[in-house]
Symmetry: none
Subunit: 209 residues, 4 copies
C-alpha cells in the first residue's frame, strides 16, 4: 500500500504522538492539530483511528524485519560476525526509529489481540526464523554452542535495547549525559549497546572448543 504526502504527514505525527501518550491517550484532534490538518481527514484517509494505527505499523513494518538473507550466503565472514551484524541491525533500528519502537513495545504488551499485535507477532516469527537459521548453521559448523534458546536471546537483545532507549532518562542521568544533544547521544548509545551486547553473547554463544 502506498501513501501520499498528506497521509504520510498524518502517519508520522500519529507515530510520534502514539509513542508519547499512547493510543488511547492520543486523540484524533491532537493528531490533526499537530499535523495541521482537519480532524475529518483521519477518517477520510484511514477510515478510523484504529486503521490509522495499523497504517503506522504497515508503514514501518519492513523496518522491523532484520535482513540476513544476503549475509548468510556470504562465506567471507564467520558465523559470529554474522550474528554481530544482526545485533547491530537491531540496535540501529531501535536507535534510528525510537518513536516507532517505543510504540511497538507498548503495543506488544497489549493483551487484547488486535490486528497490530498480530503484525508484530508475525514479524517476530520471521526474525526468529532468520536468526535460528544462522544459529543452526553455526552449530552445525561447530562454531556455536548447542542448547541456546534463540527466543531468549532475542528477548535479551530487544529487551536490553528497548530498556535503554525507551527509558533514556535513567541512562542519561546515571551517565551524566542529561543534556547531551540527541544526535550525539544516539551515536554514543549505538556504539555502547553494540559493544555490550556482543560482549554478552560472545562467550555465551561460542563453543569453548
Amino acid at each position: 500500500m502506498e501513501f501520499n504526502e498528506k497521509q504520510l504527514a498524518i502517519i508520522h505525527t500519529a507515530e510520534k504522538l502514539f509513542s508519547i501518550t499512547g493510543f488511547d491517550g492520543t486523540s484524533v484532534r491532537d493528531i490533526a492539530n499537530e499535523a495541521g490538518i482537519n480532524v475529518a481527514m483521519v477518517s477520510y484517509y484511514f477510515g478510523s483511528k484504529e486503521k490509522l494505527m495499523e497504517a503506522v505499523f504497515e508503514h514501518r513494518t519492513n523496518q522491523m524485519r532484520i535482513k540476513v538473507e544476503n549475509m548468510l550466503q556470504n562465506d567471507a565472514i564467520s558465523h559470529l560476525e554474522k550474528f554481530y551484524l544482526i545485533i547491530d541491525e537491531y540496535v540501529d533500528k531501535f536507535v534510528s526509529r525510537q518513536e516507532f519502537h517505543k510504540l511497538m513495545m507498548r503495543e506488544q504488551f497489549n493483551e487484547k489481540g488486535t490486528q497490530i499485535t498480530d503484525m508484530i507477532h508475525e514479524v517476530k516469527l520471521k526474525n526468529l526464523a532468520s536468526i535460528t537459521k544462522l544459529i543452526k548453521a553455526g552449530q552445525k559448523s561447530g562454531d556455536f554452542a548447542k542448547n541456546v534458546d534463540v527466543v531468549l536471546m532475542m528477548a535479551t537483545i530487544t529487551g536490553t535495547v528497548s530498556q535503554v532507549i525507551n527509558s533514556q532518562r535513567f541512562y542519561r542521568e546515571t551517565h551524566n549525559m542529561t543534556d547531551l544533544p540527541t544526535e550525539e547521544f544516539n551515536k554514543h548509545i549505538r556504539k555502547k549497546l553494540s559493544t555490550y551486547l556482543k560482549n554478552i553473547f560472545k562467550t555465551f554463544l561460542i563453543n569453548e572448543a
Copy 2:
C-alpha cells in the same frame, strides 16, 4: 500511607485493569464495576484517577526494590552467588507480579514526566545503588571484571524478563506451551530465565583470572 480493605480492593482491580487495557484505556467505571463499588468511590478515596494510579504504585513500590542489604553482609556466599540471588529476585518479582510489572514497564516509557515516572526512577536508582555496591565489592576482591556498566546489566535483566513475561504469547507459541496452565508456565519460566540470565552473566562478569 495505609489503605483500608475497600481501598485495597480498588487498587488491586485498578492494577489489573490498567495492566491489561492501559491507563487511558481503562475507565473509572470499569474499575468500579469490576471491584463492585460505586463510581464515586474512586474520586472519594483517591481524589482522582491519576491519584489512584499513584496509589497503585505506592502500594507496590516496595516490591520493586530488590533487597540486598542482608546479603552483602553475609560472608558465607560468594559475590557471584550474591549476584545470582539478585537475578532470582528480579525474576521472582516479575513472574509473581506480572500485572504490576507490565503496568510499570508501560508507564516507564511515558515521556511526560509524571509523579509515577519519578517513583519508578527513584526505585531504579536505589536498585542501581545496591547492585553497584555489590559489583564494586566483587571488583575490589578481584572476583568481578572491571569496566562493567551496571545500568546496562540492569537493562538486560529487566529487559529480558519483561520481554518474555509481558509478550508471553510469543514465548509460549514458539515453545509449544500455548495451553500450559499459568501456574506451570510460571514455574517453568522462572527456572528458565534464572538459568539463562546466570549463564549470560557468568562469563561476562567473572574475572578470567
Copy 3:
C-alpha cells in the same frame, strides 16, 4: 417498566420532537435542550437514542391497544354498537395522542425491521384479534355480513383518521378552520370522524336482512 419524573420529561419531549422532525431528524441535543436537561442524561437513563425511542413506545404502547374485552360481554348493546365503540376508541386515541400516533405511523412505514416495528406489529395483531372476535360474533348472530376483511377495515379506520389528523393543515384549510384553536378543532374532528366512519361501515357491515 417504570419511569421517574425526569425520564418521563425526556420521553415526552422525545415523543414530540420525533413526531415533528422524525427520529433521524431529531438530535439528542435537541431533546436535551427542549427538556432542559443535560445531553448525557439520555445515554445515562436510556442507554442510547434508539433505546429512548423504544422507551417512548413502551410508555405509550398500552394506549395503542383498543380494549373490547368488557364490551364483548355486555349483552345490553348490539354488535353494531360495539363496533361503533371501537371506532370511537380509535378516533379518541388518535385525536388525544396525536404526536405519538404521528410518530407511530411514520415508524410503521420503516422497512428495516426494528424493535419498534415489532412492537407496533404485535399491537396491531392483538387489535386485529379483538375486532375479529367481535365481527365473528356478529356474523354468527346474523347481524353482520359475511366476507368482510377485518384487516382492510382496520386499514380504513386508522388510515382515514391518520390522514385527517396528521396532515391536518389540508382539512383545516378546506374547511375554513385554519385558525381554530386546537381544543375546538379536536372536539370538532372527533365528532366528525366518528360520525363519518360509522356511516361508512353501517351499510357495509350490516346484513341486509
Copy 4:
C-alpha cells in the same frame, strides 16, 4: 423542468433510498454510491440535498394528480362509474409507485412547512377540486347523496391504500402471503383494494332514492 439521464438516475435512487430510510436517514453518499456517481454531483446538479428531494417530487408530481377531465365529459358512463375510475386510479398509482408514495406519505406528515409539503398540498387541492366537481355533478343529477365530505372520502381512499401498501408486512402475514412475489402480490392487492373501496362507497355515496 427537464432532467438528463444522470440526473434521473440520481432522482430514482434518491426516491428509493428516501422511501426506505427517510430523508434524514439517507446520506448523500449513500445515494451517490448506489447511483454510481460522485458525491459532489448531487450538489452540482441539484444544489443541495433538499433541492434533490424537491426534484424527486417535481419529477413525480404529475403522477400524483388524478386525471378526470376527459372522464367528466364522457356521457356514456354513469357518475358512480366515474367515481370508481377515480378509486382505481388512486389504487393504481399507489401500487405501481409504492416507493414514491411511501415517501410522500412520510413527507406529508412533516410539520415544518417546506417546499415539498406545499407541493403535496397543492396537488391534493387539485385532486380535491376534480373529485368535488364530479360529486357535485352527481348530486345535481340526483345520483349521489348530499352532505358528503369529499375531503374525508379522499382521506379514506388514500389512507386505506397507504396503510395496506406501506405496512405491507401486516397484510401479508395476516393473509398468509408472506412469500408471495411482489408482482403477484401487487396484482392481488390492486384487485382487493379496488373492490373493497368501491363496496365501501357504493351505499355510502348513492342516493337511496
